[in-house]
């Protein structure tokens, strides 16, 4: 989950993220290969979270979205580097590497992907 590695079924051509053990379309006829997603996509839908469990309380309000990756799969991730009033359906985003949360009193740190508007980085949509 650090670099959005999912899989691609060469039988039906569908891309999957998170990776699946079996292609739900082709089942045993499917042939799944590892695929590293480019990490580019657009916002399919989103919410502004204002009440969150303790792990996320310090970030409230934050944007959580379903991002549709260019290859086809969708995933759930936070949108960062973006004002909560600026996010909209269809907005182009790209993946960035971030800390997600910490587990328990030992503080095991989970890293993974969040997304940011592409225009912030490249200057255009």
């Amino acid at each position: 989950m650090y670099s959005i590695v999912g899989n691609h079924c060469t039988t039906c051509g569908t891309y999957y993220f998170p990776p699946r053990p079996v292609c739900p379309e082709c089942r045993r006829k499917g042939h799944l290969e590892e695929h590293k997603f480019k990490g580019l996509g657009k916002v399919h839908t989103f919410a502004i979270v204002r009440q969150a469990p303790d792990d996320f309380k310090r970030q409230v309000p934050y944007i959580i979205a379903q991002v549709e990756l260019d290859e086809g799969a969708r995933l759930t991730a936070q949108i960062v580097n973006c004002d909560i009033d600026a996010v909209e359906i269809g907005m182009r985003v790209r993946a960035c590497f971030r800390k997600i949360t910490e587990f328990g009193p030992e503080g095991i740190i989970v890293y993974g992907y969040k997304f940011e508007p592409t225009m912030k980085v490249t200057g255009h949509k």
Binding site: P18, H44, T45, F46, A47, I48, V49, R50, Q51, A52, P53, D54, D55, F56, Q59, Y62, I64, Q66, R74, L75, T76, A77, Q78, I89, I100, T101, V110, G112
Partner: protein, 386 residues
């Protein structure tokens, strides 16, 4: 072999924040009411089935099947605990239905229960959150209201559904709950109150969301041939169907449509050779106001995208063409997760018997309950008839 299973007794505890009672008390209460209602004696009951999502996390107690048999003083009969997130209650009803149809059991006590108010808000949110795909949704900060906000936002984007229409679901269901003595909120709310209530995850507000509740519900079910022994007014389960979908919302074909609901509702109607117009009263799983709107579309009360419109037209009110959630629904009756699916059936049995008092739908003969788990990964549909 008989194709129908009878419901001969119903019971329900008060829903709400029941600080003075524990899980055993409320479950026993609902079970005893159901048994008294049916005139069944304890020795007639040959199995118990109990629906619950997460008593282990909410109260620190699992193994609820044995607990129910023990507290009910029912001896050494077998018991089954079933879990399907928010559809656990519906799953318990279906488990008993199948057990009786198979001939293995004759008379069963079905229970659904949850005690949610004893843990902190964070613990409650985390525990409810595991009904979605925890590893790929919850871990990244998607709360349950946020997942339903995803559906609401997309529904508004694709079909022009408005915030006012979302709020109208809450207004309608609260108005119905005023007449339900077991409801958590026997209190009407105005459109303005709903539309200005606090935001949980935009566009989902506090009053778009079902509450944290304690409560239990029970049924006595038996095979059709012996039903008249226990009551003069049995209600029959004419169809029971179930379907699944992807656990994570982002893997769905279309997040505005719950395919599991479409399939299970269609199969149920096909099984009895009826159309949705033959159904007189509905209990639909309104854990958030957007889910009642999508469910009215998915079971066929209107075309996709028109769930808000039929609400505006008053079709889903008591007295309308398709009365939905006469009990107040999850929104106002309360949503003790494992109890909900059983409570839906309790309400519909009262409706079909003509015992629903001020919430009564005149001449109701057929009724449908739709109980979903998570964000629609499980859907269980029951059609009841007199």
């Amino acid at each position: 072999m008989t194709r129908r299973v009878a419901i001969v007794g119903v019971g329900i505890s008060k829903f709400g924040e029941l600080w003075e009672k524990n899980l055993r008390d409320i479950t026993l209460e609902a079970g005893m009411y159901a048994i008294f209602d049916s005139q069944v004696s304890g020795k007639d009951i040959d199995a118990v089935c109990i629906g619950n999502m997460s008593a282990g996390r909410f109260t620190g107690q699992e193994h609820l099947g044995a607990l129910a048999v023990d507290m009910g003083g029912l001896g050494h009969i077998p018991s089954y605990s079933v879990e399907a997130a928010c559809a656990s209650g519906g799953a318990a009803v279906r488990q008993a239905y199948m057990s009786i149809l198979s001939g293995e059991h004759k008379v069963m006590l079905v229970l659904g229960c949850e005690k949610m108010s004893d843990v902190s808000q964070t613990e409650a949110m985390n525990t409810i959150g595991v009904a979605s795909d925890w590893e790929w949704e919850g871990l990244f900060g998607a709360t349950f209201p946020a997942l339903y906000a995803f559906m609401a936002r997309r529904h508004m984007h694709e079909y022009g559904t408005t915030e006012e229409q979302l709020a109208k679901v809450a207004v309608k269901n609260h108005a119905n709950a005023v007449h339900n003595p077991w409801a958590q909120f026997q209190k009407a709310v105005s459109l303005d109150t709903v539309m200005t209530s606090g935001l949980l995850a935009d566009p989902i507000r506090v009053l778009h969301s079902s509450p944290v509740s304690d409560g239990a519900a029970g049924l006595v079910m038996c095979s059709e041939d012996i039903a008249k022994k226990f009551t003069d007014t049995p209600v029959y389960i004419e169809a029971s169907t179930q379907a699944s979908d992807t656990l994570a919302l982002h893997d769905r074909r279309d997040i505005c449509t719950m395919d599991a609901v479409v399939i299970s509702a269609r199969d149920a109607l096909k099984e009895i050779g009826a159309t949705v117009d033959d159904i007189d009263v509905f209990e639909l799983h309104d854990s958030f106001t957007i889910s009642e709107i999508t469910l009215t579309e998915d079971i066929g009360l209107c075309k996709k995208g028109e769930g808000g419109k039929i609400l505006d037209e008053g079709l889903t009110q008591i007295g309308g063409k398709y009365p939905v959630n006469t009990s107040g629904g999850l929104k106002a009756r309360g949503h003790p997760i494992g109890a909900t699916g059983v409570a839906q059936v309790v309400e519909l049995v009262l409706q079909l018997r003509g015992d629903a008092e001020k919430r009564q739908v005149d001449g109701a003969e057929k009724a449908m309950a739709v109980n979903i788990g998570g964000t629609g990964a499980t859907s269980i549909v029951h059609v009841l008839g007199r």
